[in-house]
Symmetry: C2
Subunit: 226 residues, 2 copies
């Protein structure tokens, strides 16, 4: 499958790498290709610069949002939440029309420090904002309740015995995403309903970041024990 | 231990019953004793009327908030979130001074239907509002991320292999609550930090209620798989 991953940060790369390992044809979209490639220092959480990471994935392309988005079968939004709608607009409404968009972003707002607040919350969600801004795109929210490594390698935590949630208005699009999740090794995939239910998973950001602090590692996930 | 449980609804009764089963001396506080005893119909979720439930717990007292609160060692706030501060005010600031208050409430707001929204959220929490209104009370938020049955009988779900979170500013008060949770059978008790971290657990209400709808049962809980 031809997949365009929008966002060259940690989540975007991890998803791109995971999808490439499964044999998909991946292009990463970024705002400014040169700036992304020129960075050499690790980011503030210690992840290597893009160019360093990319050495292990020579087949993954890097392109400006608009060019990366021309002919993909599936899009992934892994941009920072505050810039997601602008990035998707650069990718192009027409390019995204009719396509499935797996949205893994969260509406983080860091002005008050850590843990971040949400710039949209409870009575609306970033998933809904994206769906409203791109009404012809089939938005599916998933994987936004965990760190990148866990998204693509669920078996790395408790032998994969934990949960992922999906939200979206388009049943066929949710089937595409469910198949993708299954190919990553996900077993407990909980369909919450329409895109409005993304409010609930976006609101889990705060507990996830506090648990991360408490445990001293981001490598964990929520399981619905029953 | 002498425990006053404020709130005669489902969560309050379940906690009262669970604590009585452990040998504690329990009084339930309610706004209007006569009205609580006069009800005969099950509530809207099918729980039996108070008087029917109380037949199984003849040793549990029922009293107005103020009288229930005179000499307890521990208080539990299991009132509806929208009425919690008023109920605690009736219980009496002086009665609550210096005492540990286990707060299991959530700031639910039902004007938009189901799932409810939160009347305080993200940048503040009901736990903090209570702590600010009763500065001499040692507020510990816990057990607000699950249904009543699971609070007192964690073993009823996945043999107890799931998680409970605690938030509070007073370390000794958190130890009291931790001991109580342990006596219910809780094993994975995750201390998130100060009362401010109650924001995170209160924000889990929405995902919990959506999962309840998706699974068709409230009998489940979050586990931090790691």
């Amino acid at each position: 499958m031809k997949v365009t991953v929008l966002g060259s940060g940690f989540a975007g790369r991890t998803l791109a790498g995971g999808l490439a390992d499964l044999g998909h044809d991946i292009t990463i979209g970024t705002r400014d290709v040169e700036a992304t490639l020129d960075r050499t220092d690790p980011d503030r959480t210690g992840n290597p610069a893009y160019a360093v990471w990319a050495r292990d994935f020579p087949d993954i392309g890097l392109a400006p949002f608009a060019d990366a988005a021309s002919d993909a079968d599936l899009f992934v939004n892994a941009t920072a939440g505050a810039g997601s709608i602008a990035a998707l607009a650069e990718a192009g409404k027409a390019n995204l029309a009719g396509k499935v968009l797996l949205d893994v972003s969260n509406p983080l707002e860091f002005s008050q420090g850590f843990p971040p607040n949400l710039f949209v919350n409870d009575t609306d969600s970033l998933g809904e904002q994206i769906q409203r801004a791109f009404p012809d795109t089939r938005v599916v929210k998933a994987l936004n309740t965990m760190v990148g490594d866990v998204m693509t390698t669920p078996k790395s935590v408790a032998e994969g015995d934990h949960s992922v949630f999906i939200s979206g208005d388009d049943a066929a699009a949710k089937r595409v995403v469910t198949e993708l999740l299954t190919s990553f090794g996900w077993i407990d995939i909980i369909d919450l309903g329409g895109i409005q239910t993304a409010r609930a998973t976006e609101m889990m950001v705060k507990i996830r970041l506090l648990v991360m602090t408490s445990l001293g590692t981001p490598i964990f996930n929520f399981k619905i024990a029953r």
